[in-house]
Amino acid sequence: MIDLLLGAGPLAALFKVAVVLGVLMTVVGNMVLVERKVAGWMQDRVGPNRAGPWGLLQPLADGIKFIFKEEIVPQAANKAIYIMAPILALTAALTTFAVVPFSDRLVVLGREVAPIIADLDIGILWIFAVASLGVYGIVLAGWSSNSKYAMMGGLRSSAQMISYELSMSLSVVGILMVTGSLRLADIAGHQADTVWNIVAQPIGFLVFMTAAFAETNRLPFDLAEAEPELVAGYHTEYSSMKFLLFYMAEYAHIILASSLMVLLFCGGWHLPFVDGMLATTSPGFAGLIHLGIFCLKVSFFLFLYIWVRWTLPRFRYDQLMRLGWKVMLPLALLNVAWTAALILWGIA
């Protein structure tokens, strides 16, 4: 039984998927609470604290509330597409986690388990591919709601996403050139041998972080779904479970972007002094410590997302597009050229 679940067959893969999904959805649910709490502290007030001690049962309360709300479908909406859009958005957001490695190696119950669901050779390209399919969820949601605000919000959101997808992919090319592999585990492992990529590729990190904020439709780039601007953008007409799916898709995207920033730029599961200490312990223990370090770093970036949201003002839509095409894209291209030059001269 244990062999089936932890071995190499399809059942083991499904089990891994179930575990990763479970952990992800838990984190997504708790991020709702963390966001509100941190927002409260930044605004000099206490966040939600009624549901359970320190508001810890708030996600549960929110979930129950969402389940009991009435399911509304606008009358003139295209019903099939209207229902399919949030499903597509969440599916795309969650499928990207198939190639994210959580540690360098895991030893569970004496068996070596790969800490990644699918170790594809094309690694990071899978994430870009599936994330670009997530745009459809948004544009279809906006269109099928048959409402002006939703349509405008959907079009703006999707135009923003495809614009920043370009800069995001290009900013990673510099790292790929230095590492020579598309697999995220290789990129994270490479940083353990040399410096972290945040030091080696600062422009790349800047562009990637900006593009990640724009891709996930988070402040300062959330014009398309901000309340004072467009009611709620593409999810104006959505209520209860369908809205919850969009909400969860957004947080799953945020977790993905944070994981990518950690793996690509901040050394993944590597901390300089810790690795020396772990050289003498068993590989299973080292793997678990690495997993913990990874989770800590991702948590820091999640906090960064929330911090930026409640600190910075919002970009206007034309400023946003101008930034994406006239600043981020040239910067990313320059970064590629500069990295290529450095490699040619034998420095990097």
Binding site: D121, I122, L125, A129, S132, V135, L140
Partner: protein
């Protein structure tokens, strides 16, 4: 039948059915979405044929960018679609299906002389390194031409998309 062939034929059914929706459905938005599904199933074909890089490029580029463009234009111009052309269309449809079937039969007769499979593949087949190496050595000229083509297309599309200036 191996697992790979099973997935291949299942994917073939998805591809053919979504192609049917593209060709026959009335609503142009549904056609566009069916084409996205078709492109994704072709991407899966690429994956089954050991072309992993092409799988990624097909989804990122074709299904994720070109079709989004299509969808924008369809939503703005032609949300309802017009379906097949009227009564004359029925004759058109029958004749076309007959012609396409003839084409299929002709292709089927060419099958026995089709290329035989070699079976063994070199290391790293279908990966980025192989594509990149070929792209910058044997196929450098088409590569540069393609970039000029894209530039020309960009200029043309921007020029034609601009609003006409009122005299």
């Amino acid at each position: 039948m191996s697992a790979r062939e099973l997935v291949f034929w299942a994917d073939a059914i998805v591809a053919v059915m979504s192609a049917g929706v593209v060709v026959l459905h009335r609503n142009a938005v549904v056609c566009a979405l069916a084409l996205v599904m078709n492109l994704c199933s072709i991407a899966v074909f690429f994956l089954l044929l050991d072309a992993a890089f092409l799988f990624a490029v097909q989804v990122i580029l074709y299904a994720g960018a070109i079709m989004v463009l299509f969808l924008f234009v369809v939503m703005l111009l032609d949300p309802e679609g017009q379906g097949l052309a009227g009564r004359v269309g029925r004759i058109q449809l029958t004749l076309t299906v007959a012609g396409a079937s003839l084409l299929l039969v002709g292709m089927a007769r060419a099958l026995p002389s089709a290329v035989a499979d070699t079976g063994i593949l070199p290391e790293g087949f279908g990966g980025v390194a192989g594509v990149g190496r070929l792209l910058f050595t044997d196929y450098l000229f088409p590569f540069e031409l393609a970039s000029i083509l894209l530039l020309v297309a960009m200029i043309g599309a921007i020029h034609m998309g601009k609003k006409e200036v009122e005299r």
